[in-house]
């Protein structure tokens, strides 16, 4: 074995260096994936399943409503919906320790916030640009934050959040708080150079971070195969000795099962993990994208055969829940979303003086 032969020539690594994957010559890159394939789905109780169902439904109904408000002109500019991808945020974030672990993502951020329990009213009011919005209407759909939930945003620049995530992980480690960072990005973002700078640093310094590539098949109008040389995104950490996992992002229990394995690895101080979550967005890239680069049939096929909410619904029915039980949840969720929408329409716009607040600290 070439690697073993080579390793005998190397001097014994120093103590500090042993902290890092880069020096661990027995490192097995695919062990997490093997474990994931062995354990598969998370063994959720019915209660947990109902909770996942409710959260996914909240995201879907919220996004449908946001789409409607956009159509009515109440939401302007750029608005990226998460419909189809609900199982990713819900499955992963349900395994986080609230108030300890940090989350950061790109501009398709409504779902991640809702999965974290952030008030739908404050999110919707941000979309409509109102003072009561979570960023006082100045950030909009793509730029939302919550220190309470350690949600470090919503970022409009593709890929930039990945480096920031590396910094969050560095701070978790420095403070020895036991938390880690969950850093989401897209298949398109995975081609930004700074992602790989961050991979290297995260592995070199053994940072507590889980990189999550939400592979929904498209970066705007560019299908994965037209923009990426390596389309098996979970392999992209290999050069940096970051173990990868290939996960079905349309099945919330499988997502949660994978999260258990990945998060344990990171919490045990073994360094970063790269998860590829295979998913699909049903709507256009943003509200202004008619999505002509793919066929209707392709979308229809995913909706009919892989939908994360329908999939869980089937399981719940098998477990003895009735259609009526699930309808009651839907009704409750619709009321929450309607309330958020009403709030977002009726609350006032920020005062013009708000333009000059929070540019720099203090007087400006």
């Amino acid at each position: 074995m070439a690697r073993a032969a080579k390793s005998t020539k190397k001097p014994a690594p120093s103590r500090a260096a042993q902290d890092s994957n880069a020096q661990d010559l027995d490192f097995v890159l695919h062990s997490l994936q093997e474990e994931h394939e062995k354990t598969g789905r998370y063994g959720a109780s019915v209660e947990e399943m109902l909770h996942f169902y409710e959260q996914m439904l909240l995201i879907r109904r919220f996004e449908e409503k946001a789409g409607q408000l956009y159509g009515l002109g109440l939401i302007g500019g750029f608005c990226h919906l998460y419909i189809g991808q609900e199982a990713v945020a819900v499955g992963l974030q349900s395994a986080l320790t609230d108030g300890l672990d940090s989350v950061i993502t790109g501009y398709r951020d409504h779902g991640h916030m809702l999965a974290y329990g952030i008030d739908p009213k404050a999110i919707m009011a941000e979309l409509t640009g109102r003072q009561a919005g979570i960023s006082h209407g100045k950030g909009g759909s793509m730029h939302m934050f919550s220190s309470e939930h350690k949600f470090y945003g919503g970022h409009g620049i593709v890929g930039a959040q990945v480096s920031l995530g590396g910094g969050l992980a560095m701070a978790h480690k420095y403070r020895e708080d036991g938390g880690f960072c969950l850093a989401y990005f897209g298949d398109g973002a995975a081609n930004q150079g700074q992602v790989y700078e961050t991979f290297n640093m995260a592995s070199l310094w053994n940072l507590p971070i889980v990189f999550v590539i939400e592979n929904n098949g498209y970066a705007m109008g560019t299908a994965v195969k037209r923009g990426s040389a390596e389309t098996e995104f979970h392999r992209r950490g290999t050069a940096f000795r970051i173990p990868g996992m290939d996960v079905n992002g349309m099945d919330v229990l499988e997502v949660r099962g994978a999260a258990e394995i990945a998060f344990k690895h990171v919490r045990d101080g073994k360094g970063p993990v790269l998860m590829e979550l295979n998913t699909y967005r049903y709507r256009g890239h943003s509200m202004s994208d008619p999505a002509k680069y793919r066929t209707r049939e392709e979308v229809q096929d995913v909706r009919e055969h892989k939908d994360p909410i329908e999939g869980l619904k089937k399981l719940l029915l098998e477990q003895g829940q009735t259609e009526e039980d699930l309808k009651a949840i839907d009704k409750r969720i619709r009321a929450v979303v309607t309330e958020a929408a009403d709030f977002s329409e009726s609350s006032p716009e920020p005062a013009p003086a708000e333009l000059y607040t929070d540019v720099l600290v203090g007087e400006y």
């Binding site: 302007g76 500019g77 750029f78 501009y107 941000e126 640009g129 109102r130 919005g133 960023s135 006082h136 209407g137 100045k138 950030g139 909009g140 759909s141 793509m142 730029h143 409009g156 620049i157 593709v158 890929g159 398109g188 973002a189 081609n191 930004q192 150079g193 700074q194 970066a219 705007m220 109008g221 560019t222 037209r226 923009g227 990426s228 680069y293 716009e349 920020p350 013009p352 708000e354 333009l355 000059y356 540019v359």
Partner: protein, 358 residues
């Protein structure tokens, strides 16, 4: 098909083209036409960028070009601005003429090192042996509810860098002629397209219906090849009351304000910030004795500061009042309150009044 109107000088267009016919176009069509012509004229021209090939660009500026010229000459890139611009510099050094698109000016920053440290300096540090003849096209500016990552006007970052040219058209006719000139230019050109006026000359009166380009004389775009030289300003409106120095979307806003107020101002559409038509600026301000600078970009260290300094250096003894500036506020571009932020007719009107009273 109409004859092209005659205010392009013989300098601007080869004489053989002056008799050419013309066609109504919006700014997107004019840009597409320029790219089409350059791709067909010069095999070293390459069009590349995110979603530009198969999809035809998010604003459709490259629609149909991949089908016509093939994937070797018009192609999609990954989302890698640093890599895109860096590759374009290398391609340029090896004799190609790449025209990379950066989808929004707000995304040019990951590539800025390649623009400043490489593209702008290659000629100088190789004593002219190597050049970087790339043209970076990028939609810029606000007024489209884009918030902070789809609305910025970062032109002054580039005008501050020696070795780069910065071009900003304000009409379809100029967009085509300037883009052809930029692509043929042997230096790196940042070509910022005011996206608010892609489909019509926005007046700044945001509550009025949008005018399409077809009602505007400068949508009459000559067919075929022509170039508008870099470094020549255009008189968008001639007048005596004051000089308004501006570019891009704000040319049309300033025009609308002058019309609404009945002010006889001279509006100079700068067209290219670097190289700047200093002579045109000087002549106009010396004639009118008053100067207002208007741009969307933030105020501090904006291009208006450079213009104001130039005007006082060159026209001080002709000035009857201090130079006025109407600009974006020194804040990030907000999601909400866009029309409070946008330096629209009210703020321009106030500045005009102040100068008239001076």
């Amino acid at each position: 098909m109409a004859r092209m109107s005659a205010d392009l000088t013989e300098d601007d267009i080869p004489v053989s083209q002056l008799e050419a016919s013309s066609r109504r176009m919006n700014m997107i069509e004019a840009i597409n036409d320029a790219l089409d012509i350059m791709l067909s004229h010069d095999p070293s021209v390459i069009v590349m960028g995110e979603d530009v090939g198969y999809f035809g660009g998010v604003f459709r500026a490259t629609a149909g070009l991949q089908a016509k010229y093939g994937k070797t000459r018009v192609f999609d890139t990954p989302i890698s601005e640093c890599g895109i611009i860096g590759a374009a510099v290398g391609m340029g050094a090896y004799g190609l003429r790449p025209v990379p698109e950066i989808q929004f000016a707000d995304y040019i920053y990951p590539g800025i090192d390649q623009l400043i440290s490489e593209a702008a300096r290659l000629r100088y540090r190789s004593a002219g042996e190597f050049i970087a003849p790339l043209t970076v096209r990028s939609p810029f500016g606000g007024g489209i509810f884009g918030g902070q990552t789809h609305s910025q006007s970062p032109e002054a970052i580039f005008t501050h860098v020696a070795g780069l040219k910065t071009v900003i058209p304000a009409t379809p006719r100029d967009a085509k002629g300037l883009l052809i000139a930029a692509i043929e230019d042997n230096d790196p050109v940042i070509f910022f397209e005011p996206k608010r006026i892609y489909n019509g000359p926005f007046s700044g009166y945001y509550d009025k219906p949008v005018e399409p380009w077809k009602n505007h004389p400068d949508s009459e775009v000559p067919e075929g090849y022509y170039r508008i030289p870099l470094g020549k300003a255009r008189v968008a409106r001639s007048g005596d009351a004051m000089t308004i120095l501006t570019y891009g979307t704000m040319v049309h806003v300033a025009q609308a304000v002058c019309q609404a107020k009945g002010v006889d101002a001279e509006i100079l559409d700068l067209r290219t910030l670097v190289p700047l038509d200093v002579e045109a600026v000087e002549n106009s301000v010396q004639k009118t004795g008053k100067c207002l600078v208007v741009h969307e970009a933030t105020r501090t260290s904006g291009f208006g500061a450079e213009l104001a300094a130039l005007v006082q250096e060159r026209c001080f003894y002709h000035l009857e009042a201090p130079v006025e500036r109407v600009t974006g506020f020194d804040t990030p571009y907000p999601h909400s309150l866009e029309w409070a932020y946008f330096p629209g007719p009210v703020r321009i009107g106030d500045a005009i009044d102040k100068l008239l009273e001076a």
